[in-house]
Structures are given as C-alpha cells and as structure tokens.
C-alpha cells in the first residue's frame, strides 16, 4: 500500500483500491464460513474513536476488527468528559501514550483525521470527517458494485440526493473516477456543490434521464435539517422531483441496481418497495462493509504495507 493511513480517496492509487476490493472478496468468503474468525491481527490494538454518533459504521468496524482477532476499544465523545476541539489534542496524546496500533476515527470536522496524524504515530483510518470524505464507505460501495457487475471501468453510476453535505458522495466520486467509472450527480441545485465540474462528473437535475442513463443508483440520505437552511422547500417537493419510488422506476424498462449507504429515510429519498426489492443491494452493502473494512485493516496493519510514507 502506498499510503500508511487511509484518510481519503483523493489521489489514492487504483492498484491499492483494487487490492482492497480483491482482499474484501476473500474475507467475504470467511464471513460465510461457520467459524468467521481469522487470526490475522492477533495482538494488534485498534481504537474506534467516535466524536459523532454512528452506530452502523462503528459496529461494522468493530465486527471487522473482531473477525480479524484484533483487540478493540471503543471511545466515543458522548460517553466521556470530552467536548469539542480544545481537548482533541489531549485525546490524541492519551491514545498515543497507550501504544495502540491504529485509530478509526469519525469526526464532524473536515480534515480532523489529517490533524490527528500530527499527534499520533498509529495508523489512522478515516471513518468519516464531516462533509469531507468517508473512504471506507466508498470502498464498500465499490466492492458491492464490482461484485454485482464484475467490473468498475466504464460503469455508469448516478449519485442522487444531497451531494454538498455528503462525505459519501465525495469519496465515491474520487474512488470511482480512479477506477474508471462514469458518474452523474443528481439532486436539487442547492445541494450540488459549486465548482463540481472540477470533480470530473456530470450533473443532471432530471432524475428520469439519469435513471435511463445509469447502471446503478447510489441514493443518499436527505436530512430534514436541510429544510431549515432554505436549501429545500419541502419533503413533498423533494419526493416529486428526486424520490426513487416504485412508480418512477416502473416507467423505465431497465435493469437497475439500487444502493443506499444508510440510514434510510424510507418514504423520503427512497420507497420501501424499492429498498426491499431484488434490485436493491443495500443489505449486501452492509455485509460487504464488514468484509471491506477487514480488508482495509488487514492491508494497513497486517504487515503487507511496504512502509509507504504518508
């Protein structure tokens, strides 16, 4: 692996993404065995440092760590005296003093994982930094797409919803572009970031045209808070313009794979009848999440690293 840490997928090498995905498939086989545990990270200590609640991401990482026989400690900001930035350094230095091997961090501020590398020698894995990146989510999405289609190069992926506030979108864009996929973003103009053309993607506000074009839709969560900031008029309007509903899909006579990073707002950005249908691979994403995170941890901590500098 070229980089010691996994902070984001911007400028992350294609061959490393490829080997993570390949390794994820190997671990997925392990997860389907009766005994789902391998000794790969025996003796390694990993801290899951969560400054923001994210039960799914934390559980997915924790499970990945347990399956690899690593020792795991969970540290969440809400269960300690810790509050906000002033003590960020203290927390980091405390972890450093405890001689741990890796930190998986979720933080509400862009750049926080990079910031952590200044204080800590351990390997850092970004589990989401605000509206910046969420590289492990993007890798599990790519693993799921690869599993489904058998290739990523030339694959047409549409990302639907709130792109501006989405770390999932940004990491997916970087990763998928690196792997040669084509991307179209679709969502309200107020939720598409300015200068988005710099990311090398297409934008189309017409969701029906996007459905016609795409091989797969990655549907993002719409947060109700966005209504307050004057970014969206109403849920009803959003559903009318961008909602992935059964009626809308049935107007298009095509095979289409539906993804969602969760947690879903059923009835808002996606209907239950779509989310629970055969074309949705949402639950598969969850299992691939564990396998992908096992692969990431294994490749970064398992001694396969070529001592890359980062």
């Amino acid at each position: 692996m070229k980089h010691r840490h996994l902070l984001g997928l911007k400028d992350y090498p294609a061959e490393d993404i490829k080997s993570i995905i390949d390794t994820a498939f190997t671990f997925k086989e392990v997860l389907e065995r009766p005994i789902k545990k391998v000794p790969s990270l025996n003796g390694k200590t990993i801290v899951n440092l969560f400054f923001e609640n994210s039960t799914r991401t934390r559980i997915s990482f924790e499970l990945a760590q347990k399956r690899l026989s690593a020792d795991t400690v969970n540290f969440s900001a809400s269960t300690s005296s810790l509050k906000k930035g002033e003590t960020f350094k203290d927390t980091a230095q405390n972890l450093e003093a405890m001689k741990i091997d890796a930190v998986v961090m979720r933080h509400p501020t862009p750049g926080a994982p990079l910031h952590l590398t200044k204080y800590i020698d351990a390997i850092i894995i970004n589990a989401g930094d605000g509206t910046h990146e969420h590289p492990t989510q993007a890798i599990l999405d790519m693993t799921s797409l690869h599993e489904k289609f058998g290739y990523l190069k030339g694959l047409k992926v549409a990302i639907i919803g709130d792109i501006s506030h989405s770390r999932v979108a940004l990491s997916n864009i970087y990763g998928l572009k690196t792997m040669g996929a084509e991307i179209t973003l679709c969502g309200p103009a107020t939720l598409i970031p300015p200068f988005v053309e710099d990311l090398g993607v297409n934008v189309n506000y017409n969701v029906d045209e996007v459905i016609e074009w795409a091989d797969a839709l990655n549907v993002l969560r719409i947060q109700r808070e966005r209504m307050g900031g004057g970014l969206l008029p109403s849920i009803r309007e959003y559903r009318n313009l961008f909602g992935i509903t059964r009626e809308r899909l049935s107007q298009h006579n095509k095979e289409l794979v539906i993804m969602h990073p969760g947690p879903m707002n059923r009835g808002v950005e996606i209907d239950s009848s779509v989310a629970d249908s055969d074309q949705a691979i949402i639950l598969n994403q969850v299992l691939n999440g564990v396998a992908s995170r096992m692969a990431i941890l294994y490749l970064l901590l398992g001694g396969k690293s070529e001592g890359g500098k980062d």
Binding site: E86, P110, G111, D129, V196
Partner: protein, 429 residues
C-alpha cells in the same frame, strides 16, 4: 531580537537612504543624536559615537501599520500593547493603529484614553481606532468627536461588519465633520453563514463550509455607494477579492476619499494552501484564489490599493490547534510582513522597491494624517533599516508576539528588517 537604548551619538554608516517622500535612494550616512536625526552626509566615525555598519542596507521611514489587533484590554494572554510593540519592532514597524475589538471594546473616550496612556510606556507609537458603534453591536454610534480628542485616529467595528446600512450611512455622514476614515470589515454575514474558507474549486474538494467572493464585494460596493451619497471617507480594509477591486477601481476614479489596504497573507497565499487544513490559514476575509491574488498585486501597482496592512491577529495555540471549524479567524503578521511582501511584490512581480516602501510608510501614514517627514533634521528618529536581498526562512524564533499563529513559519522570505529605531531605542533583529 536585541532591544536597547540608543547611545548618545549613533552613526549609520555606508548605507543608502530611501526617502519615500522625495522618491529618492541615495548613498549617505546618517547621524543620530539624543534619539533625533542630527545630520545626513558623509561622516567619519569618532570614538564616542556608536557606529552601525549599514553597508548593503537601506535606511528608510519606520513602517506604519493601519490594522493590528493587540488584544488589550481583555485578552492579554494573546497579546498586550507591549508584546505587540515588540512584534512591530521585529517587523520594522514604528507606528501601529490598533483595532477596537477588545474586551471591553474601544468604544468610549475613556478606553481611548486608556490605550493612549498605556502606549506612552510602549516602545512604538500606538494609535487607537475607535469602534463605530457602542459595544460593536451595530446599533448606536459611539462618541466619535470626544474619542477623537482623546486620541482616536479612525473608526471601525473590525472583526464585525456594520451590517445595518443606515448605521453605516450615519457613521460616514457623521465622520465628514472630522474628515477621518471609516473602516468597515466587509463581510455579508448572511451570505457567509458558517463559512470558514473561500468558495471555489478547493473548498469543493475539502468539504469545508465556504462562501463566495461576493460576501465581501457586495458589502464593499454598498460602502462605496454610501461614501458617494454622504461625502464621507471610507478606508476598505484587507481587500481580498478581485470583484471588490473592480468596485474600488471605479469608485476611485471620481472619489478621492476612498482608500484601501491589502494584507501580506492575501498576497502570499492562495486557497490551494488550505489543502493541509492548517488552521493558521483560517482568516476573515478568507484566502482566495490564484486569480484573486494576481488581481491584488495588479491593484497595488495601478493604485487601486493604497497600502499594505498586516491585520496582525494573535490567537492562542490552544485555540488554533483544535479542528478547523473551531479555530478562530486570524493570523499574526507583523514580523513576517516585509520578507513576505518584498518577496511577492519586488522579487517575483517587479514592483519598484521604492513603491513598496511607500506602501508601508508614507501611504498608510497619509491615510491617518501622519504627515511628518521622518528624515527631517531634528525629528525623533523613527527609522527602519532593511537588507533588501537577504534570503531567509521565517521561523518561530523570529516571532516576538505572545502568540505564534503564523502560516509563514517555514516559508522562504526575501528581504529582511535588520534594525528598527524608535523612541530613542534600537532593536537589532
């Protein structure tokens, strides 16, 4: 930095005198006696005089900064009038105007008097800028006339904009009685929201909340229009965007009561430098794009911008070492100013050395009405001596401020302040 009292007689020998009023650079020695300019010409050393070898150096007026935050009263942990003075001397500044966003704010004749009295003991000249509105709350005008008679030199709510256009109009109108500059920190806070950087390609990649250049230029445009309406005097601080420059350029064609400044950091850095999430680059207004940077340099050359001001804004390391969202806006800038602007403007963009010195001396002084010729015989020596060609790297050790929130640390500089002489003292840098 070594700071000591001047000897009774001092001979600055072998240097060139850059006179920013006469527009000349001449080889000449300069003799100081009892802290005053005694004579110019050629002098031999004598036993009793302190000889300073100025070979290869330029002697000129002490620099003047229109925009610094010395944090006193209220945040003496960040800076005091004394520590700020030492930072100024390290940067070649002998005269600094301090902004009123202290705690309490400098918004009454009493606080102006406090700053003026405290400054007497300081090794540089410090001039308080009074708040435009009481408590900097944007609602009621301060007692400008009385504050002026106590020593205020201009008015600003800096740190915050005067959002209410009627209040801004009134401030400009009221200010016409005294012919003093009104300085408005131009940022439309509604458009800014929770932005921490410039909205552009880089912000899209970093995922940081951002706001467009219009956040500044819309309010600059409003202020310029109000200046037209009222006949007041407007000084636009820390101009950062090309769009603001367009408005100022047009306004200046018909209105000579408009002036504007630019900071070293907006000239030196671009938003690309934020890729490492360095909180020291979190400033308001934000660091903008390469094309804004180019426009600022051009505007200094064509006179749209009058002068350079540091916006020296000390913050504690505890505040700045947190995450990007929580860090306060601002960086220190006095010590690094000359090496940075001389590099960008003179070395890389062929600005005349003389022009640059004017942007640090006569031009800011004129805006505040400090019009003495600092090279006249008999005046109190207020001089800066620079090596225009020294290449060096700015480091923590070059900082005299109580705070060291500087993204210039580690940067290559070109040209360096070697000595600053002020109030009968000399700083050897």
């Amino acid at each position: 930095m070594d700071f000591s009292k001047l000897k009774k007689q001092v001979i600055l020998k072998g240097g060139k005198i850059l006179d920013p009023i006469e527009n000349t650079i001449k080889k000449s020695d300069l003799v100081l006696e009892d802290g005053k300019i005694k004579a110019l010409g050629k002098f031999n050393s004598n036993k009793s005089a302190h000889l300073i070898d100025c070979k290869g150096l330029i002697i000129t007026h002490g620099f003047c900064d229109l925009h610094a935050h010395f944090r006193e009263p209220g945040r003496e942990d960040k800076e005091t009038l004394e520590s700020g003075s030492m930072a100024a001397l390290a940067g070649g500044f002998t005269r600094v105007c301090v902004m009123p966003n202290t705690n309490p704010p400098i918004d009454s004749p009493e606080v102006i008097r406090y700053i003026v009295d405290r400054s007497e003991e300081c090794p540089i000249y410090i001039h308080p800028i009074g708040a435009i509105t009481k408590g900097q709350e944007g609602n009621e005008l301060t007692e400008m006339g009385t504050m002026l008679s106590e020593g205020a030199v201009a008015f600003s709510d800096d740190g915050l904009p005067v959002t209410n256009s009627a209040i801004m109009r009134n401030a400009l109108e009221y200010g016409t009685m005294f012919d003093i500059p009104i300085i408005n920190h131009a940022e439309d806070l509604c458009l800014k929201q929770d932005a921490v950087m410039h909205e552009g390609k880089v912000s899209t990649h970093l995922g940081l909340p951002s706001s467009p250049d219009l956040t500044e230029s819309n309010m600059v445009h409003r202020d310029l229009s109000l200046t037209d309406l009222t006949g007041g005097r407007l000084h636009v601080p820390h101009v950062s965007s090309s769009k603001s420059l367009d408005h100022i350029r047009i306004a200046k064609r018909k209105n000579d009561k408009v002036t504007a400044e630019v900071t070293p950091h907006h000239l030196f850095f671009t938003d690309n430098d934020l890729q490492k999430f360095d909180t020291n680059l979190k400033v308001a207004p934000p660091i903008r794009t390469t094309s804004d940077q180019k426009a600022l340099i051009k505007a200094l050359k064509d006179g749209t911008l009058d002068c350079i001001a540091t916006d020296h804004a000390p913050h504690t390391i505890e505040e700045k070492e947190g995450t990007f969202d929580l860090a306060p806006f601002g960086m220190i800038g006095l010590e690094s100013c000359f090496g940075a602007v001389n590099k960008v403007l003179v070395k890389e963009n062929n600005l005349d050395q003389l022009d640059l010195i004017q942007m640090l001396t006569t031009r800011p002084r004129k805006i505040m009405g400090f019009n003495d010729n600092l090279l006249d015989i008999g005046v109190n020596a207020e001089l800066t001596i620079i090596d225009p060609n020294e290449e060096w790297i700015f480091s923590r050790a070059d900082i005299q401020s109580k705070s060291y929130n500087s993204p210039f640390i580690g940067q290559n500089m070109y040209g360096r302040v070697k000595y600053t002489i002020c109030k009968d003292h000399i700083s050897v840098i």
